[in-house]
């Protein structure tokens, strides 16, 4: 039976969707349109004249060694954040799936970090890792390890990677745990009867059955690492020292808001937009259908 309600007339349906359309228009379509427009123009230093210059902004971006470096850095950053967040989430989920004492507490604690805002999480990491005031950072110094992420670029990048992955572990954990619990216990038992040891069961039965979850999380994590880590990075290192932790989103902000190169920054955000569209398309292509069937 068709349980949908069909509203007659024109005004009522429009009134229902209008708020959503308005929000989308004001906060997405309008700025995105402006960015696309801006990426094809150049404005003089006083903001008096705006010229249409075609793809010149994009070409100069690709010529810019700094941009290419940021691109590579972002790729490494995304790969490591995703790998770290997913691998540790899977590990924790496998542990939490067992019948262990205090399982409920363990699970709850693992989900908590997700409720922490990026900036707050960054402050927590400062408390832990700062070379002078951080609990661990200070100890590292005392042990003779030269730890100072405010001057050492590699350490800074490592720190933002770990901090960014940390909040995402909770999200991945929930999905992996649900994925593990949806595997019928009899399938695992059948593998045990077939003679498969724990690691082989994990590799040949559990992991393949988690593939849809893994793929979904891979896309979500890449998008997260590429775009939603802005707050964490800004609060921890502001992109520094130097360019060490400047990812593409941070660079958009630096070039556009700080250095006022609006056209270049617009071109950068258009490229980012295309990447998101691409990732989302991949996700829909491979997952959209499967989750429906």
């Amino acid at each position: 039976m068709d349980r949908r309600t069909i509203f007659g007339g024109r005004l009522l349906p429009i009134a229902f969707v209008l708020p959503q359309l308005l929000v989308t228009f004001l906060f997405f379509l309008l700025p995105a349109g402006k960015a696309i427009y801006g990426s094809f123009t150049r404005t003089d230093a006083f903001g008096l004249h705006t010229r249409f210059i075609g793809f010149a902004n994009f070409v100069s971006l690709l010529d810019d060694a700094g941009y290419r470096a940021a691109f590579g850095r972002t790729a490494i950053f995304c790969a490591l954040v995703t790998l770290l967040a997913m691998a540790s989430a899977l590990l924790f989920a496998v542990f939490a799936d067992h019948e262990i004492r205090g399982r409920a507490i363990y699970r709850t604690l693992l989900i908590w970090p997700y409720a922490v805002a990026p900036a707050v999480s960054a402050v927590l990491w400062v408390f832990v890792m700062h070379p002078e005031v951080g609990i661990v950072g200070r100890e590292l110094g005392r042990l003779g390890i030269h730890w100072d992420y405010t001057v050492n670029g590699a350490q800074a990048l490592g720190l933002v990677i770990v901090a960014s992955a940390w909040t995402q572990v909770s999200y991945n954990f929930v999905f992996y745990l649900a994925g593990l619990q949806s595997i019928p216990s009899s399938v695992i038992e059948a593998a045990r009867m077939d003679g498969a040891g724990g690691f082989r069961r994990f590799r040949t039965i559990v992991l393949p059955l988690l593939m849809p979850t893994t793929f979904f999380l891979l896309i979500v994590n890449l998008v997260y690492a590429a775009f939603d880590t802005f707050g964490t990075i800004m609060a921890l290192t502001r992109g520094g020292p130097g360019q060490a932790t400047v990812t593409l989103v941070v660079k958009v902000y630096r070039d556009g808001v700080v250095n006022l190169d609006l056209a270049g920054s617009s071109a950068q955000s258009v490229i980012l937009m295309l990447i998101v569209i691409g990732l989302t398309a991949v996700q829909f292509r491979f997952l959209g259908r499967r989750t429906i069937s």
């Binding site: 399938v187 009867m193 077939d194």
Partner: protein, 382 residues
């Protein structure tokens, strides 16, 4: 191919004891069916043998080797699960080959074993399919195939037919029996379906509340149930039970409903007045002419025509429920007179529910030979 001995096998989950100690011995190639109502501990028993659960007490000895503490992987036992438990991401071939690959068999060897099993089961055309592309019956066969190719010492079946529709179930039942005979693999089969139990088992183990109620051949269980639970559980429609007292120096039972029934097979021990329960199967009840001396009046309140025969449900004057199976129709509301065939009476002690056999030895001709071999009071010996 192996023998299996269970000794005092018990399992408790915390304070809850689900299995109170089971002794059972399977001869090489024998198929024993564990049957009982849900929650009687039959699946737990199977999982203990499989090694999927650890027993609280007792031992499992497979082919002379104590495997009680061994991992399932080390026991060389194959199991067919109720929901088939096929690996969803593997093809039929890979499903069947999985256990063989773990045992590091050669490629050609795996191929030939899987092909042979698939031909035997009639699934040789499906080897490239994934489980979700198969029907219930086909999945069932793949699950069987996965067990067969391993050539294990012991087969375990955990209600393998309960997810199939009635027609397929009958067909697969016969197929499982044929296959098990042909391969000669010692098997334990769990079911709640008494028809499955009766048709499949060389012997049955009837479980009741975590204890074995009787271990015997299907016919022995049907003809000489060890207690009222087994008597009521095996046989459809279920046996009628009538309260009675021992009378006439142990030679008869005085039914509370009136008539005094003389035992056809000999006197029972005990004083007159000992409380008994007399069991009679609905098919052993005859309809007598109105006003017959040894008759029971039955007010029929439900009539179930089965085609060739009719089930009459009703109440005796005392209010006890009673069922008769007979040819021909009766109208609801009618009163009929029924008689109990004296040779078909089952006599149980009221207090314990245990079967009360005649004091004199039963003439050998009346006992079915296989039943005599697996006596109900000797569950361990074969």
């Amino acid at each position: 191919m192996a023998t299996l001995e269970l000794a005092g096998l018990a399992k408790s989950f915390g304070a809850l004891a689900v299995l109170h100690g089971v002794d059972l011995a399977l001869a090489d190639g024998e198929m024993v069916v564990i049957v009982g109502a849900s929650g009687c501990g039959k699946s737990t028993l199977l999982r203990l043998v499989a090694g999927l659960e650890e027993p609280s007490a007792g031992s499992v000895v497979l082919d002379g080797r104590d495997v009680t503490r061994l991992d399932p992987a080390a026991r060389d036992i194959a199991m067919v699960f109720q929901n088939y438990a096929l690996y969803p991401h593997m093809s039929v071939f890979e499903n069947m080959a999985y256990g063989l690959r773990i045992r590091r068999l050669g490629r050609a060897d795996i191929r030939s074993r899987v092909d042979q099993a698939a031909r035997m089961l009639g699934i040789d055309g499906l080897l490239d399919r994934k489980p979700r592309q198969l029907s219930g019956g086909q999945r069932q066969r793949v699950a069987m195939g996965r067990a067969i190719v391993r050539e294990p010492k012991l087969f375990l079946f955990d209600e393998p037919l309960s997810n199939l529709d009635a027609r397929l179930r009958v067909q697969m039942r016969a197929e499982i029996r044929r296959l098990q005979r042909r391969l000669g693999v010692t098997s334990l089969y769990v079911t709640h379906d008494q028809v499955e139990a009766m048709t499949l088992g060389d012997r049955l183990l009837v479980m009741h509340e975590g204890r074995p109620a009787q271990v015997a051949s299907p016919l022995e269980i049907f003809c000489r149930p060890a207690n009222t639970y087994v008597a009521g559980f095996i046989g459809a429609p279920a046996m009628n039970f009538l309260p009675a007292r021992l009378a006439d120096a142990g030679r008869a039972a005085a039914l509370e409903a009136g008539p005094v029934m003389a035992f056809a097979d000999g006197p029972r021990a005990g004083r007159d007045g000992r409380a008994l329960i007399i069991g009679i199967r609905p098919e052993d009840v005859t309809v007598l002419p109105e006003g017959a001396a040894q008759g029971l009046r039955l007010a029929v309140d439900l009539v179930e025509p089965l085609g060739s025969e009719t089930l009459l449900h009703g109440r005796l004057p005392g209010g006890a429920a009673f069922t008769v199976q007979r040819a021909g129709m009766v109208q609801v509301g009618e009163e009929i007179t029924v008689g109990l065939r004296a040779a078909s009476l089952h006599v149980f002690e009221a207090e314990t529910g245990c079967r009360l056999d005649p004091m004199l030895p039963v003439p050998p001709a009346e006992v079915e030979p296989r039943a005599a071999m697996h006596g109900s009071r000797d569950p361990g010996g074969t």
